[in-house]
Symmetry: C2
Subunit: 223 residues, 2 copies
């Protein structure tokens, strides 16, 4: 069994144990393969066994953890194929609504997105892994809200958690982080310019983490 280390902080009462465990999985505190002992989680999150069980059941329903009868639950190993498939789905969904996002963008929403992109920049510099991750989510959620389809916004949020969009695996290098930050701003640029094709291209490159999407003049703009 992979060992788990106790933490000293008490459970935050406004957040469910499910959220706390999920956070620790996504930030790498509970790495892939870790066996999650119920009695240890009770202590770690300062909660009762039934709460732990509910959290674990929920996470297993989301396929973040696997339940092995009579042995317990462990964090799923990364699966490259699943990750690829989830990225493909995200590309399909997010590019399909690019025209709607452009059509519905207002100066206020553009300003808001610019602000969130800058916030991500700052978290890149001074934030924790979690703050960084959450800044990224905030940006993308605000962008997707422009689609006008709430179910799609929620769905993308859900599926992102399933695989390699988790922070421990998403940004492997400093260069990748910086590129992501630039891409955020470029997406806002494309939105402002009402350039649907550019926005689609950026979204796809961003999700797949491929290519160099940066025209030189757009990069200069951030300086």
């Amino acid at each position: 069994m992979t060992e788990m280390h106790d933490v000293t902080e008490t459970a935050a009462n406004d957040r469910d144990v499910t959220d706390l465990v999920l956070e620790d999985i996504l930030t790498g505190v509970l790495p892939a393969g870790t066996w999650l002992k119920q009695i240890d989680l009770e202590k770690r999150y300062d909660c009762t066994r039934p709460e732990v069980r509910r959290a674990l059941d929920r996470l297993s329903q989301k396929r973040l953890v696997e339940h092995v009868p009579n042995r317990g639950y462990h964090v799923y190993q990364p699966d490259g194929r699943r990750a690829q498939e989830v990225s493909d789905i995200r590309v399909i969904l997010e590019t399909a609504v690019a025209d709607r996002m452009v059509e519905r963008a207002t100066p206020e929403s553009i300003a808001r997105l610019r602000q969130l992109a800058s916030h991500f920049d700052r978290m890149t510099m001074v934030g924790t892994v979690l703050e960084h991750y959450e800044a990224n989510l905030a940006f993308h959620r605000e962008l997707l809200l422009l689609s006008g389809n709430n179910e799609l916004v929620d769905l993308v949020s859900e599926i992102r958690q399933r695989t390699s969009s988790a922070p421990v695996s998403q940004w492997r290098t400093r260069a990748r982080v910086e590129r992501s930050a630039r891409e955020h701003h470029m997406m806002v640029d494309a939105l402002e310019a009402r350039d649907v094709a550019d926005l689609k291209r950026l979204i796809e490159a961003h999700i797949r983490q491929t290519g160099d999407a940066a025209p030189a003049e757009s990069a200069a703009r951030q300086a």
Copy 2:
């Protein structure tokens, strides 16, 4: 509180209580708005309280039922906006992979789909609501498997359960049922003819339940 009627059959041991409750919701036995009393479900499905609670928690996570603290759980009311949004998502996803489906279709898979379309025809005539529903799911799952993206197949299965794709609301008229049956065969025709555009058009019309998608000669083919 909306009253629930007891059933006389015992729980099928190979299926989880979650599945049983879900089936009763989807087939209209437990209509929208019904309060699901834990002690009644225990009797209905011949199981223990913890099993009922787990099932209800899972269904509430899927937003099929709503949990009201200290009052219990009730089946969600239909929400037209959500239904529309889910249909939009399905159209995006399923049409996006139409080219992949055409590209990957083999004579064997086409024969299999033809068989499943015929099975749906038969269930339309002689099957129960549930058998009919499951025949539809089987057809669509087999079709989507041609995309090669398992996550997408699973995801579409999941989101279909959320709203008006449930059998109680999907087929309101005999004519609608018959059109769905015809559309299945036409999708297989398009696949066989490797006509991506036609397949996309059929898939969209099918999901939205709009229009008359039938060219006269295709309809004659089924006679």
